[in-house]
Symmetry: C2
Subunit: 622 residues, 2 copies
C-alpha cells in the first residue's frame, strides 16, 4: 500500500504503520506536540482518496471531519490513499531563527571582571629533532619538552597520539601544544598558527543556538540557530524522555540534535574560513534532559520518581565522544545542572544575570518550554521548576503555535462590539496563536468582561464570537478559508494552569526563604519567549507578581550567554560550578503547600486580589 | 573482463589491476612475501586460457614459464582468462596453530614471587538509593560511596557513565566498581558477580597468539593462535610499513590484525561460556611495528633514519579505542618497547627469561621474523636488532616456506652419493623448505663438502643434484610432478647473511660491554622457530656461538609468556617498564664495527675458526 501526496510523491506504507509514522520514516515531519499519542490534534492531514481506519479523531471539530481532516498519528490506511498536508501541519525545523543579540556579550564578560582563560591552554615547545644517537621516541621527546615548561604528568589519549608523529614533523619540531588542566594533551599545531576558536551551544527543547567565538579576544564571529529537530518526537521534555525509552529512540534523539548542531556549524566555518578542525573547545548548555540526550545518556530516571539525573556535573569529555563536527580532541564543557528539572541553562542564566554577585534579592525566571525560577542573591539561591509546560509555545492549545509566520502575537478587543483586532507575524493570514498572543487575548477578554476571574466565558454577551465548540465554549478570533482560529475554555484553562504554576512556584520559594514579593528588588526574565512578553499584561493575568515595572529586566537567551562566558574564562566556569552547588532545589511536585498556592493562583489575576493592587485599581477604574 | 578459476569461481577484473590485486579484492590471498613487488617469486599461478601482459617473470625458471606459470603480481589480463592456483601459492592464514605450552605459566609466575594484581582493581560499594529528599545525581552518589572507601578524584569516561544509571539500578545500588590506578572508573557489576577475565595477546609478524586467563587464580583457560593475516601485505615489518603508507593501507593493516584477534576471541568465549563483555583487561605484546599497527599509529618513521617510533611506552588506552571485541572500557596494557626494532616482545621475553634478575651474564635471542638479541644481567642490559630478515620463515628463499605441512624440516646427505634424505612435515610431498630445513641443508652440504666455507658450490663433484639454474648453481633436493625443490647459491647467500647478522650482532654487543663469548653463562633462545632449532647445527653454520651445549635453553614464545605475567601482576608491569628503561639500544645499521663483524661472519662457520673450536675439531676429524 502507498500514500500519495498532492505533490505527487508516493510513500510505501509498512504493515501496521500510521500515516504519521510513514511520513516520518520518509523524512516528512508533521507538528506532533504530544509525540503521536492522539492528544494534541496538531498532525492534521486531509484525506482526499482511499479508505482508512481511525483510532481516534481527538480534538477534531465536525466541520474539519466533514472536510476529510484526520489525525495522521491515529489513522491507518487500508488501501492506497491520497492526502494533502496543510501548511500549518508541517513541522518547520532546520530554518534559521533570528537571534536577538540583546546586549554586547563581551561587555557583559568585561563587567564580570573575568580574564580570558579558555578551556584549552597552549604552550610553545621547541623540541630537539631526533638523531641516530638521540633516538628517544616522539612521545618521550614531547614529554621531556613539556616537562621543561613545567608541564608534568601529562595524559595522552589515543586520538592525540594517532596524529602526533606527523604533526611534530610537519611543524619541524617547533609546535604549540594545547592541553587541559587534567593535565591532558589535546592538540598540536605549528608554532606560527595563532587562531583559536571555540563554540558555545545552547540546546533548548525548542530551539538551538550556536555561537562561534574567537578565543583570543572573545569576539563573537557568527551565530547560528535553528529549531531543535527533536520536536518531531514531541514538544516537551517528557515526550522526548518517553521516546528515548522506545527502541532506538535514545540514539535517534541524540543523532537528531547533534546533526542539527553540525548542520549549523559547517556553513559557519565556511563563511569565516575557519577550519572546523581548528575549533579547540566547546561549551554546551541546556536543560538536564537536553544535556543527557546530547551525551546519549538514558534520561529515563529523570522522569521516574524520585527524579534522579545520571549526572549534574559533567566530566570534560571530548568532541569526538559527542560526535560534534569540530576537532575530535576538543574538550566539551557542559554547564553543570542542579537537578532533573533545573539544568545548566538556568545555572548559565544566573551567571549571565549576575544576581549571584549582588546583595539585592532577585527573581530569575526562564519561561521557555518549561518554566524555571531562581530567587536569591550573593549569599543564597533557591530554585524550582514549575512544570508550566510548553503551552506558551503552542503545545496543548487548540490553535497554539510557535511565534513564527502566521501566528497571532497581539490582540485588541473592542469593548463595545467585542470585535478583535489581530497583530499577525508576517502580516499574512492567521494560522494560530503564539504565547504573547495568548496572554494578550486572555487579558483583553478578561478586561472586556468576556471571561470571568475563573477564566470561564461570561454568559449572555451579545456577540457571535462566543460560540459552542466540541470542547465547550470558545471565542472565534479569525476565520478564513474554512480555518477558524479560536481559544476554547479548555485552552484558557491550560494557559491559566501554566501561569498559576509559575506564580505559585515563586510564592512557594519565597515562603521557603521567609520573604514576600515586596522583598524582590529585581526580576530577570530570560528565555526566547521573555523578549516578547508584555509585562503589564502578564501581571494582569497574574503570571508575574505585581511589582513596580522598573524592577523588571529582559535578558534574552541567558543560557547561551552564560555558555559564552564559560567558554571564555575559567573563573566563569568555576562560578557556574559554585552556582550549581549553592542552589537549593525545591521539588514542587511533592509539596502540599505548592498545591495550595497553585489552586489560589488559578484565578485572574489571583484569588487574593490584595496581591495585585495595580490590577485591582485597573478593574475598579473601568 | 573476468578471471575464471579452475574451481569455477569467476572474478571481475577492475581496470589496470593485476591478477594478485584482483584475487586479493575477492578475498583470495596468495603468498606474497615481498608485498607484490615481483621480487619474491611466491605468487605463482598457472595460466590455462587467455591473453595476459606480464611486467616481469621475476625468479621463474624456463620450465615453469613453459608450463604457463606467471607471477600474479606482475601479470595483467588482457581478456577473460582461466587460471589454476597451485596449493603452495595459497596463503594459509586463519588456521589455528598448535602452541606448545613449554612450561607451566603459573609456575613461572610463582617463581618470580609476584602477587596477583591485575590492571583493574575492584571495590564493593553499598550506595544509599535516592529518595525525593536525597536527590543527588547517580554520579554524585557513586563518587561519594567510592570516596568513603578511600577512592578520591576518580575519573569517569563517557563510556562508563553511559551505562552507569541502569547498571546501578539493576544491581539495586550494591555494586562492584572496577577501576584503574589513574584512578579511573572502568566497570560496574552486581556485587555477587565474581568472575574476572583478561586476555594476553602476542602479535608476531607471522603469528598471533591469544591467551584467555582467569584473573583470580591466574589459570590459563584457553589458547588461540593463527597466522597474522597481515602477511597478505608482505612478510616482514618493512613491507608492512611500506603498505601502511599507501592509500588506506594503515587502516587495512590495523583492521586485519584486530579482526584476526577478534576471530580468535569469539569461539574462546563461547567454549568456556565467558561473556566477551566480562573480559576486563588485556595485555598486548609484539614488536614495535606490530604494536604501532595494532593501535593504528603510522609506522613510517620507524623505517626512516633516524628510526624513531611514535612511542615506546604506551599509555593505558581502552579496548574500545583498539576495536578489540571485549568490554570497550577494558584497559589495554601494551608491553613497553625499547626502540624501533626492539619491541615489547623482547621486553616481555627478558621478563619471562628472568635474566634481568640474575647476576650471571646471559644472552637472550629471539629468532622470529626479525632477530633481536639482548645481553646482560641484573645490573645492565644491552640490546640490538640484527635485521636477520624473515628468511628462516621462507621469505626471500626460492622454495622457502613456513614450518607447515609439506615443508622440508630436516635433511641428511649421503657422504658418498650426495643423495639427500628429507624429513617432511606431514609426511607428504615436499612443497618447500622451512628454517630448520635450511640450517640442516647448509650444515650437511658444508660437512659433505658440497659447499665451501664461503657457501659456494664446490666445482667438479660427481652428482647431478648440483645443476645450473636461472640464478646460478643450485642443489636439487626433491622433484615431483614438475615441481623441483632447490636451494640456490643465492638462497645460501641469503641464509648466510641472516646467520652472519645474528652472530655479528652478538659480537658487537659483547664488544660494547667489554666481554667475550666465553663470559656468556646462559643462552636463552626464544621465538617459535627457536623450538625447532638444532643447536649443534646452528653452531656449525656459525649462527650461534660455540659454547658448551648445556648453556643453551629454549624458552618458546616468551613474548606471550611475558604478556601473561604483565596481565596478572602490577609488579610484573613495573618490572617490564624497568627492563625497557634499563636496556641500552645499540643501532647496528650505522656501526662501522658491525659491518666488519658481519663480513667476518659471512663464512662457515666464521672467518676466525678459532671462535668455533668444536666445529674446527669436527672438520678435522672428518
Amino acid at each position: 500500500m502507498n500514500i500519495r501526496l498532492t505533490s505527487g510523491k508516493i510513500l510505501h506504507i509498512l504493515e501496521g504503520k500510521s500515516i504519521l509514522q510513514t511520513l516520518k520514516r520518509e523524512g516528512i515531519y508533521l507538528v506532533s506536540s504530544c509525540g503521536g499519542k492522539g492528544i494534541c490534534g496538531k498532525c492534521r492531514v486531509r484525506l482526499l482518496e482511499g479508505k482508512v481506519g481511525s483510532v481516534s479523531t481527538g480534538r477534531l471539530q465536525p466541520p474539519d471531519i466533514d472536510r476529510g481532516i484526520v489525525l495522521a498519528c491515529q489513522t491507518f490506511p487500508e488501501e492506497d490513499i491520497l492526502i494533502d498536508i496543510p501548511k500549518e501541519s508541517r513541522l518547520v525545523v532546520g530554518d534559521r531563527i533570528e537571534v536577538s543579540r540583546s546586549r554586547d556579550l563581551f561587555e557583559l564578560f568585561q563587567s564580570l571582571n573575568a580574564k580570558i582563560f579558555p578551556i584549552v591552554r597552549w604552550v610553545s615547545l621547541d623540541i630537539p629533532p631526533p638523531t641516530i644517537t638521540d633516538n628517544n621516541s616522539d612521545l618521550e621527546r614531547l614529554k621531556k619538552a613539556a616537562s621543561g615548561k613545567g608541564l608534568k604528568d601529562l595524559r595522552f589519549s589515543h586520538g592525540f597520539v594517532s596524529s602526533m608523529a606527523t604533526a611534530l614533523r610537519n611543524a619541524n619540531w617547533k609546535v604549540n601544544l594545547a592541553y587541559t588542566d587534567a593535565p591532558e594533551a589535546i592538540l598540536l599545531s605549528p608554532m606560527e598558527d595563532k587562531n583559536r576558536y571555540g563554540i558555545s551551544i545552547d540546546i533548548g527543547t525548542t530551539t538551538l543556538v550556536v555561537y562561534l567565538v574567537h578565543l583570543t579576544d572573545g569576539r563573537l564571529i557568527d551565530v547560528g540557530s535553528t529549531y531543535n529537530s527533536q520536536i518531531r518526537y514531541g514538544d516537551d521534555v517528557i515526550t522526548r524522555i518517553i521516546h528515548a525509552s522506545e527502541g532506538n529512540g535514545l540514539d535517534e534523539l541524540r543523532d537528531t540534535v547533534v546533526s542539527d548542531i553540525n548542520t549549523l556549524l559547517t556553513p559557519m566555518g565556511e563563511r569565516h574560513t575557519v577550519n572546523i578542525e581548528c575549533i579547540e573547545s566547546a561549551v554546551i548548555s541546556g536543560n538536564t534532559t537536553m544535556l543527557h540526550l546530547f551525551w546519549g545518556l538514558n534520561p529515563a530516571y529523570i522522569r521516574e520518581e524520585p527524579y534522579i539525573p545520571t549526572l549534574n556535573s559533567f566530566p570534560l569529555w571530548k568532541a569526538g565522544a559527542a560526535k560534534l563536527n569540530i576537532n575530535p580532541q576538543a574538550p566539551v564543557y557542559t554547564v553543570p545542572c542542579v537537578a532533573s528539572y533545573v539544568g545548566g541553562d538556568i545555572v548559565a542564566g544566573v551567571l549571565a544575570s549576575k544576581m549571584h554577585r549582588n546583595s539585592e534579592i532577585a527573581l530569575f525566571m526562564d519561561i521557555g518550554t518549561n518554566g524555571e525560577i531562581v530567587i536569591g542573591n550573593t549569599e543564597w539561591l533557591v530554585t524550582a521548576a514549575c512544570s508550566a509546560g510548553p503551552c506558551f509555545e503552542g503545545s496543548g492549545i487548540t490553535h497554539g503555535m510557535r511565534a513564527t509566520e502566521g501566528a497571532v502575537e497581539s490582540v485588541r478587543i473592542d469593548p463595545q462590539t467585542f470585535e478583535p483586532t489581530l497583530g499577525i507575524i508576517g502580516q499574512g493570514k492567521a494560522m494560530g496563536i503564539c504565547g504573547s498572543g495568548m496572554i494578550d487575548a486572555i487579558t483583553e477578554m478578561f478586561l472586556r468582561g468576556i471571561i470571568d476571574r475563573k477564566g470561564k466565558f461570561v454568559k449572555g454577551l451579545e456577540t457571535e464570537r462566543i460560540r459552542k465548540g466540541l470542547e465547550g465554549p470558545e471565542f472565534l478570533f479569525s476565520s478564513n478559508e474554512g480555518r477558524d482560529i479560536v481559544l476554547t475554555e479548555v485552552d484558557i484553562e491550560n494557559i491559566m494552569r501554566a501561569k498559576a504554576a509559575v506564580y505559585a512556584g515563586i510564592s512557594l520559594l519565597l515562603q521557603k526563604v521567609g520573604f514576600t514579593f515586596d522583598d524582590i528588588e529585581r526580576v530577570y526574565i530570560a528565555g526566547g519567549f521573555g523578549n516578547y512578553l508584555n509585562i503589564e499584561k502578564a501581571i494582569i493575568i497574574g503570571m508575574l507578581p505585581d511589582l513596580p515595572r522598573e524592577r523588571f529586566r529582559f535578558l534574552g537567551n541567558t543560557s547561551i550567554a552564560g555558555g559564552y562566558l564559560c567558554l571564555l574564562s575559567e573563573s566563569m566556569r568555576k562560578e557556574a560550578e559554585e552556582i550549581s552547588r549553592k542552589m537549593t532545589y525545591v521539588e514542587l511536585s511533592v509539596s502540599r503547600r505548592f498545591m495550595d498556592e497553585y489552586m489560589s493562583a488559578l484565578f485572574l489575576p489571583h484569588t487574593n486580589m490584595g496581591l495585585f493592587p495595580t490590577v485591582e485599581k485597573l478593574l475598579t477604574i473601568k
